[in-house]
Symmetry: C2
Subunit: 655 residues, 2 copies
């Protein structure tokens, strides 16, 4: 299989899929081409791959002859990758097709399709469970049969199971174990047509979580740009659009924020060549055929622009922001977005912990983002002090704005000892809840923005976080503002025994960052009391940590986390028990790893399943000897599942 | 003054502004043209009006000569409307200009500017109040002076006052009384540059609320499409963009969702000719001059597309939805959007009560929309029954989904009498809170969508609404779901004395709609017990109400409100006290009104200040004789302020 992931954000991937007729850049939109009557040169408008219907070719004598003798690429006059569908759509529409599964698979191979499809049963949403189960058995049998028939053909195998998440998962898991190249998620068009986006989320999530990460997923029949960003964030890589032409025929314009009817247009809505050359009135006057063509061009332009914008968002790490904007297009999309909170645990594993762009709070849904869940989980890695002082938000980074600290405090419970001896100072803020001052420069705790005017969901969420967090301390002091804003019940005003001077201890800071980044105790393992901390002359921020002359690690300025030097890698390796943070390579790769060459997925024989993309990882052999260290490109599951592409960008070998 | 409003939404207006060199369609974006070095033919990319700097022309001998002899249109090679700035920008940048106010105003008149500007003092944000006051005096003096000097020249007069809302209001009010044609809102660039959008909202709202509605407002220096939708929704009509070229020179791309740096681009983000012809890498390789030109074209295309989209949104009544999407571009824009709740009373007066498009809930901010505030205010027009039954949301319209009514109820307080005799059935839903079943087809109570999964702000808001509403009833019964969802404290389970059968009484329905639409008692005034109700055969919904053979009113299917017939107008006129719902025309217009001709604003001598746009209004003479009736195009304040354009589209005269 020749699918590779280049960039990741949320569950989305920017990747490449190799086919006999060329490489597809994913996420990709595949315009649907009718084999008999294609008119629009879709590649002129951005198509790099198209999809057409093998069953329609098969059924029409002329088309069949031409396809068999000259190939499907000649037939539809498209030189790039062609995906063919098998007639399942006709099966779902008309209840019957005049071809067998074996026959249509063989046919697709013969006409030179790049990626063919077996004849699955597209079980619609909301059917009785019994029917969904019965049809699933047939779908799975046909998948097996298709494999037996095909020779070189790359094959789609469609995930079915109606709206039963467990059936979707079961189907995905079984198909994932067979030798398919792409997995469409089928029979979701009725959900999209009736705005049942929340159920769409259930279907997609229960499928993708059980499909191999190393194969692209195709959300079948999804051709409206409204849905692209959300679907990509859930892990969909391919989309097909008949919508561009169907909507055009119906005088409707696709937009990422919805559909516009030409009859209601007062102005043209985008910057494409159609919208900048015609007024709505002019378009309404043009004859039907030409008008359909022009609207189809607009629809393609808008759809491809959206796909490019999504790829751009993945590369820069702003896909969640784009999704959250797009999901305002319809309240049921917002509902679907809100339902992603049910998948936090899974999404957190795929979402990279460090991104180029800041975390923007766009509403209560942002509270459910993986970054927030991850932060609260990682906070559990940090040991508690005896006392805690809770401060309100200020500008960021908080520890550089301590002159903004208010002067009125309250105690919660008794404060009998002087707290200043062993006191954790923690800022309370939305959306991350609790931010120890020592972590205030770690991504995304510094690199986020949210409105000053908190919404009720934020207040409730932070209140819940505080209730749990405060149980770890025996003495609690809270600023007046925090207590009021987040509804904490306080005792008396608390007056500190000496003037409050808050300082962040550098040693405590580096240890806490290491614990937060690698797990409880990692700070102790990396940095003993003797380490030397070197700060930037310009910014005054910690840059390097040395043991004598030997560099242990560098604190990366852009996101405030540690990048290992050789000594740091050795210490981490000593401290973290196998297989924690390890990527284990086979014997063949060992010499390359030692030389500092990057690690390809096919050489990896084991790894820590909990590794995220963009994390600092240790590269070891089967005997757990440290060979090198580097930055993961994929997460642990992906590293294990992939057999192509890079898994780790090695920083240094020779250890 | 030749400014006319054609369509309205929120505080936004689609209008036309006549100038000596052509008509400007507003909201409009005016690209800034440097008089000495314009290269890009901005009209090719959508510009219908441009702005240039009269001071720069004045100061340069060559330019001045050419402008004085050939005119500014020839000088910058633009045949359409040209606005000129006076040097205030230079004053704010360099603290000094070498021209007097009188001189620069005269100069602008001489070179044939369409709209000139006096030399105001652009007081920056956050200066000491004393300075803001002192400079405001000068600004006002110069405004007066400019009027004395000008002959035919249309004149801008800039609202200043720094970040003091009361000074902005004072300035706006004083300038509004003088004979200016356009009002820029000045010195806001520093706010936009530092993302101080909430303060921008304060400045703009405190200005527009005190400016005449009949003059366009220009948000000076606002050239980033991120801000256009919000600014238009607050009542801004004109924007100028130097950003298109400045950002291009700096290798940055404008987008409605923010700014992209070319160096970070992996894909081109839009569907313009630049984004569809080049890859980011190709653009990075092109020489600086050509690259700047291409990026400037993208920036113009995106900015004009956004402006068209905004005009489209106003026409279809979806401007709030667009604003709420755009304000997710940055958390401080979201904060600004949230701060609009401070202006609900004002916004409600301008926002039309009936729109072509549905109300889409996009987040807690939607709770602050004028539609919600208006509904809760209009609910006060409806008399209370003895008992109330609260039902949970179902599909809409609720009264057609009564089979979904749950079966478990609780009482709040005592229910001693059989409630079924005089019971109001009210649905509890987000975002409108309380919807009597009788109103369930009135816009926007039927024409809205919101997620099933309520956020905490919605719950809190509805709880507050219920607390107040329930005080009007002596017996309260509530479904289990409503009590649980909205945190109502209930007594015992309530079992109805007979099986609950909910039916909506047609007479109660039409009276309640009339009360809701026109005020308490209007239902009684329009429809006595003898009226005949005629329903649609197809839909079963009420269509017409007759008195014998005489049509009183028609219930409009699209939005469920009454449109008067002659008899209805007569009854409303008898029932509603002067000047309620009246537009009073002068003697000249009386015969035209009687003939059913539409009413132009210049003939209106008085009107009910509380009229909204798109409402049913009575057209009377000074003796309050009913002449005609129709639909308002403007609201009461606008009707009084305007002297051009239509005020009322007359339905029928001859009364
Ligand atoms: Mg981001
Ligand atoms: Mg709407
Ligand atoms: Zn277009
Ligand atoms: Zn572009």
């Amino acid at each position: 299989m020749d699918f590779e992931i280049k960039y990741k954000d949320a569950r989305g991937r920017v990747g490449t899929l190799k086919t006999p007729h060329g490489i597809i850049k994913t996420p990709a939109l595949m315009p649907v081409i009718h084999p008999g009557k294609q008119t629009l040169p879709v590649s002129d408008y951005g198509a790099e791959v198209v999809i057409t219907n093998a069953y329609l070719i098969y059924k029409n004598e002329d088309l069949r002859e031409k396809a068999l003798t000259e190939g499907v690429h000649k037939l539809i006059d498209f030189p790039g990758p062609i995906v063919t569908d098998s007639g399942s759509f006709q099966l779902s529409e008309y209840g019957d097709v005049q071809v067998s599964n074996r026959e249509i698979v063989k046919f697709q191979e013969k006409i030179g399709t790049d990626i063919g499809t077996s004849l699955d049963i597209p079980t619609p949403p909301s059917v009785k469970r019994e029917r969904a189960e019965r049809e699933l058995v047939i779908t799975l049998k046909r998948a097996q049969e298709a494999l037996e028939v095909r020779e070189e053909l790359m094959l789609n195998s469609v995930v079915q199971g109606s709206t039963y998440p467990d059936l979707r998962s079961e189907c995905a898991q079984k198909l994932g174990k067979m030798d398919f190249q792409v997995h469409p998620i089928g029979a979701v068009v009725p959900l999209m047509e009736s705005y049942r986006y929340q159920e769409l989320v259930e279907v997609v999530m229960s499928s993708v979580t059980h499909l191999p990460d190393s194969r692209p997923r195709h959300l079948m029949g999804a051709g409206h740009p409204m849905i692209f960003a959300l679907a990509v964030a859930m892990g969909c890589d391919l989309f097909d659009s008949a919508a561009y032409i169907l909507y055009a025929e119906d005088d409707r314009l696709l937009m990422p924020h919805g559909t516009l009817k030409l009859e209601n247009l007062y102005e043209m809505p985008c910057s494409c060549e159609v919208c900048t050359s015609y007024t709505p009135e002019e378009l309404r006057q043009i004859d039907k055929e030409k008008r359909t063509e022009l609207l189809a061009i607009h629809n393609l332009r808008v759809s491809f622009a959206e796909m490019r914008l999504i790829r751009q968002a993945i590369v820069e790490g702003s896909l969640w922001e784009l999704v959250e904007q797009r999901c305002r297009a319809h309240p049921f999309l917002l509902e679907a977005l809100r339902s992603l909170k049910n998948y936090s645990v899974d999404l957190e594993k795929y979402d990279p912990p460090y991104k180029k762009s800041a975390f923007f709070y766009t509403g209560p849904e942002s509270l459910n983002r993986p970054e927030v869940y991850r932060h609260l989980e990682r906070m559990k890695r940090i040991p508690f002090s005896k006392s805690v002082l809770l401060l309100p938000r200020s500008s960021k980074p908080y520890s550089e704005r301590l002159y903004e600290v208010p002067q009125k405090f309250y105690s919660i419970g008794d404060v009998v000892e002087n707290p200043l001896g062993d006191m954790q100072v923690t800022v309370v803020d939305v959306p991350f809840g609790i931010i120890p001052l020592e972590l205030d420069q770690v991504y995304p705790l510094a690199q986020n923005e949210s409105p000053d005017d908190y919404d009720e969901d934020s207040i409730k969420m932070v209140n819940g976080v505080l209730q749990e967090y405060l149980q770890g301390f025996s003495q609690i002091i809270v600023s007046e503002g925090v207590a009021e804003t987040f509804g904490l019940t306080v005792n008396d005003e608390y007056i500190f025994p000496e003037p409050l001077k808050i300082m962040v201890n550098d040693h405590k800071r580096i240890k806490m960052i290491a614990d937060y980044q690698f797990g409880t105790g990692a700070g102790e393992g990396l940095f003993n009391e003797e380490v030397k901390i070197v700060k930037s002359r310009k910014t005054g921020k910690i840059r390097h940590v040395y043991d004598g002359d030997e560099l242990i690690a560098t604190l990366r300025a852009s996101d405030g986390v540690f990048v290992m030097a050789k000594e740091g890698a050795r210490r981490l390796h000593r401290y973290l028990p196998y297989p924690k943070n390890r990527v284990v390579v086979n014997e063949d790769a060992e010499p390359f790893a030692r030389e500092g060459k990057s690690i390809f997925a096919k050489f990896v024989i084991n790894c820590d399943i909990d590794i995220h993309a963009k994390e600092e990882v240790l590269i070891v052999n089967e005997q757990d000897q440290l060979l090198a260290f580097g930055k993961s490109i994929l997460n642990g599951r992906e590293i294990l599942d992939f057999n192509t592409g890079q898994a780790v960008k090695t920083r240094k070998g020779g250890l």
